[in-house]
């Protein structure tokens, strides 16, 4: 088992936190090896933001994501920038309202930001996406992700985030509506 996962969006969507939570769930609660890296330079200021997770059953030598086989894109800019770097067979998850995929690209879309607004807090769109990711990819278990959320976030934020996670986990994408 080996995956290169890239979570991407724009600054402020909590992409870095999402990558940390995913990496922590895999590394501490799934008995797997995981490494999380982020861009730190000027390229990380404004524009497309990304967090990268490599996960494997074995110790990870080279820690960077080069050709993600799982790509999450929560903004059009991130999708346009990172989709070509992922393989054609890569699993691509998008925010349905914020990303219009390339014509021939089959993506799994969830209106994460709209659903987050429905919960009253747009900032939990990242955790809704993590719920959707968990259900759609099978890379990480729901239990491990929920434990990562519970162990990482301040206690008063945990109930809302568990609800956001459950919302994303339960969401069934309407494949037929893909263009």
């Amino acid at each position: 088992m080996y995956h290169e996962i890239r979570l991407s969006g724009f600054g402020g969507q909590g992409i870095g936190l999402a990558g940390y939570l995913l990496g922590k769930a895999l590394s501490l609660y799934e008995n797997l090896e995981a490494v999380m890296t982020q861009a730190y330079g000027p390229e990380a200021r404004g524009g497309a933001s990304s967090a990268n997770v490599v996960v494997s059953e074995n110790p990870i030598d080279y820690p960077f994501v080069q050709h993600p086989d799982i790509l999450v894109a929560m903004s059009q800019e991130a999708y346009t920038k990172f989709r070509p770097l992922a393989g054609p067979e890569a699993l691509v998850l998008t925010d349905a309202d914020l990303v219009t995929p390339f014509d021939d690209d089959l993506v799994q879309a969830i209106p994460a930001t709209r659903l987050a607004e429905g919960l009253g807090r747009r900032i939990v769109a990242n955790v809704i996406m993590l719920g959707f990711f968990t259900q759609a990819t099978g890379v990480v278990s729901r239990e491990a992700m929920e434990k990562a959320l519970t162990d990482t976030l301040r206690p008063k934020l945990v109930p809302l985030n568990l609800k956001a996670f459950a919302t994303g986990y339960a969401y069934q994408p309407d494949i037929a509506s893909a263009p």
């Binding site: 940390y20 990496g23 922590k24 590394s27 501490l28 090896e33 995981a34 490494v35 999380m36 890296t37 982020q38 730190y40 330079g41 000027p42 990870i60 030598d61 080279y62 820690p63 960077f64």
Partner: protein
Amino acid sequence: MSGREVLTGRHFMNGDDACAEGAIAAGCRFFGGYPITPSTEVAERFSRRMPEIGGVYMQMEDELGSIAAVLGASAAGARAMTATSGPGLSLMMENLGLGVMLELPCVIIDIQRGSPSTGLPTMAGQSDLMQARWGSHGDYAIVAYAPSSPQEIFDLTIHAFNVADRYRVPVLILSDEVIGHMVERVVIPESQAIPRWERKRPPYPPEHYGQEGFKAFEPDASDLVPPIAHAGDGYRVHFTGLTHDPRGYPDMSAETHHELVTRLMEKIRRNAEDLILLETEYLDDADVVVISFGCTARSARRAVRDARAEGIRAGLLRLISIWPFPEQRIRDLAHEVKTFVVAEMNLGQIRLEVERCVGHPVRGVHHAGGAMIHPEPILEALRASAAQTAGRQK
């Protein structure tokens, strides 16, 4: 004071944070620093944690002041450290020499970035190795380690404090941006499982030494390390960067100077076997050995395993310690292995050391910095070396 001193448990943590936690677990209670990318997270972590546990976080006006404050705290008995990157390390060089001369234990972590000068602030480098060894003026010896993971930063930071205290010497941790910023599992043990080597203190109380006073720079013959008296202990101690006699008083004579500087070098050289840390893989039957360290050693490990899968008898020698250099180990290895590859994110600093030890040119995989070396060019070098070796045997 409300925080836990040792965060026993499993964490998902970057290398910079792991350094601060390793230091705190080791009993470091003074951090003096001037934040600089990519080491800033070390200072940030200390600034949050030190007030929780009764330690001191002091943000200094620059790197000259940072290391000066660290040396002062050490003289007062504290385990003390600073964190920086290349440009800051340059500014610390003068007082690094003072630390060597005063034999004040301290730890300096250098999260290396692309250099020289301002270079690549946010991107990795491994090119401060020679500066760490020779950057301050004069003959001197320090100890330096090069971790390859956040876990190893945690472990080596603890070890660095122990070595610094045991040998009364500044210890550098030459890490890099890749290891400093990557987030990986870090397991922090129970506090009683954290190894602690204490400083050697004066064997008798101050009054025992009478009119003549305690000789603060008189070494024990066994290890060449003098016991250390802390400020406030009641011993009369004189510290000076001038050449000094066993009492610590200035002594401007060629004999005293030669004796002192020779001892400062010799106490590290003589104890090199205790200071050197290496990791080896597949060396038993290796035809070609990759020597690497820090983040690059991760790619070297992958390249060696991939080469093995191709039938190339490759081995890995990972330098966990950089200084003192494992001269004898590499000389011994060179009796059995003729072909070496050195992989490092600089243009040949450790390759020159290896060539000095093996006595002939070796193949280098070098990059000036900015991007971690991928396993592929190291594997290419292994293939080329294997082809060369096969050619020689025909």
